[in-house]
Subunit: 197 residues, 2 copies
DNA sequence: CTCGAATCTTGTCGTTGACAAGTTCGGTTT
DNA sequence: AAACCGAACTTGTCAACGACAAGATTCGAG
């Protein structure tokens, strides 16, 4: 008795009319391509070809190109929030450890990170994106020691964020390797923080 | 006796076959457009239309799109070097002051800054770009107090660069205004440095 | 079983980047 | 002054893309 064929059990070459999870396939292909060749090299038709669907299929999941980028950015914010939330750390090292995780996230998910901070590609009013942004914003704020003696706690937070963000950005644009060589960037980041003025 | 008409004295509507300084006109239009709508909104044909020339004219000055972006990035590096070199500062505040100028440059020339750090858009092997990059690299290194007692001088430099770069990037992507409101970002940056761990 | 909605298809239009080949101009040589 | 050469700019063309419209297929709720 032949097993009923779900989309998942079909051989790749005999594609079903319905893909199964086209949205995810497109997102994954886009992320891989962005990491390799940058956002400028992305074309919806190319992604459709790679997924084995027609050139207009992506529009049904993302409406248009900015919809695709917006979805990636929102996913990036959720991934970042998950990375930071992962495990608790001693309160004294909270800011440093959050920076380390921020850097790790950026290097582990360069495509997401790149898209997240290119507002020109995004639909800034997208509700899903706004929710995801709010989630990470909340989390970054929570890293501040609550009754901190620092005169301006917000300045500290912004300083830490700037440092981590700048380091991550410079890493991804290839401007740091000449300083740190083959070392683990996250370790290098700890040194950086220690050496910061 | 009618004055000989150079391209500069012609009325705009009776365009000469030769533009006069098409290269500069294209660069200026591109920079303005990038600052307004981002690099993704740039099209060589649109720039040609705005300059009043045919759709293939830009190729003669920049070869292709990446050539245009590469020229903008190189110009950005030269502008940055000029901003930093402008005037001498007390050696004790050199690193801080360099950071302030870095931030000021990024906010004054957002389009150049954006292009400079998007390697996917550039011809990394372009000799003019490489020369301009080397010039700023040299200058950033020169900001380090020479006989500094700090164990790792390079870490200090990278820390300062990361802080300034991150702050500038976050400003340009609209993630800082909620912290600093209407204040001058350069002033805010001084506070940030003071509050950094 | 029926029917509506979600998913995917084919078809089309205007725009773009890139290339090829021809035209006009400016300056330099003769 | 005439001839010439290279630079600057032109028109023409092609494949690829984004976006939209309209039709086909499938899924699932009732």
């Amino acid at each position: 008795m032949p097993q009923a064929r779900t989309p998942q059990t079909r051989a790749p070459e005999e594609r079903a009319y319905h893909h199964g999870d086209l949205r995810r396939a497109l997102l994954d292909a886009a992320v891989a391509l962005i990491a390799e060749r940058g956002t400028a090299a992305i074309s919806l038709r190319d992604l459709a070809r790679r997924a084995g669907v027609s050139h207009a299929a992506p529009a049904h999941h993302f409406k248009d190109k900015s919809g695709l980028f917006t979805a990636i950015a929102a996913e990036g914010h959720r991934l970042l929030a998950a990375s930071i939330e992962a495990e608790a750390v001693p309160a004294s090292k909270e800011l440093l450890e959050m920076g380390v995780r921020y850097v790790r996230f950026a290097l582990a998910h360069p495509a997401h990170f790149e898209v997240m901070f290119q507002p020109g590609l995004l639909r800034r009013d997208d509700p899903d994106l706004r929710a995801a942004q709010a989630q990470t914003g909340e989390l970054l704020r929570s890293g501040l020691p609550l009754g901190t003696p620092v005169p301006d706690a917000e300045s500290s937070a912004l300083a830490a964020w700037s440092l981590a963000h700048g380091f991550a950005t410079l890493c991804l644009s290839g401007n740091v390797s000449r300083f740190i060589g083959e070392r683990d960037p996250a370790d290098a980041f700890r040194d950086i923080v220690r050496a910061s003025p």
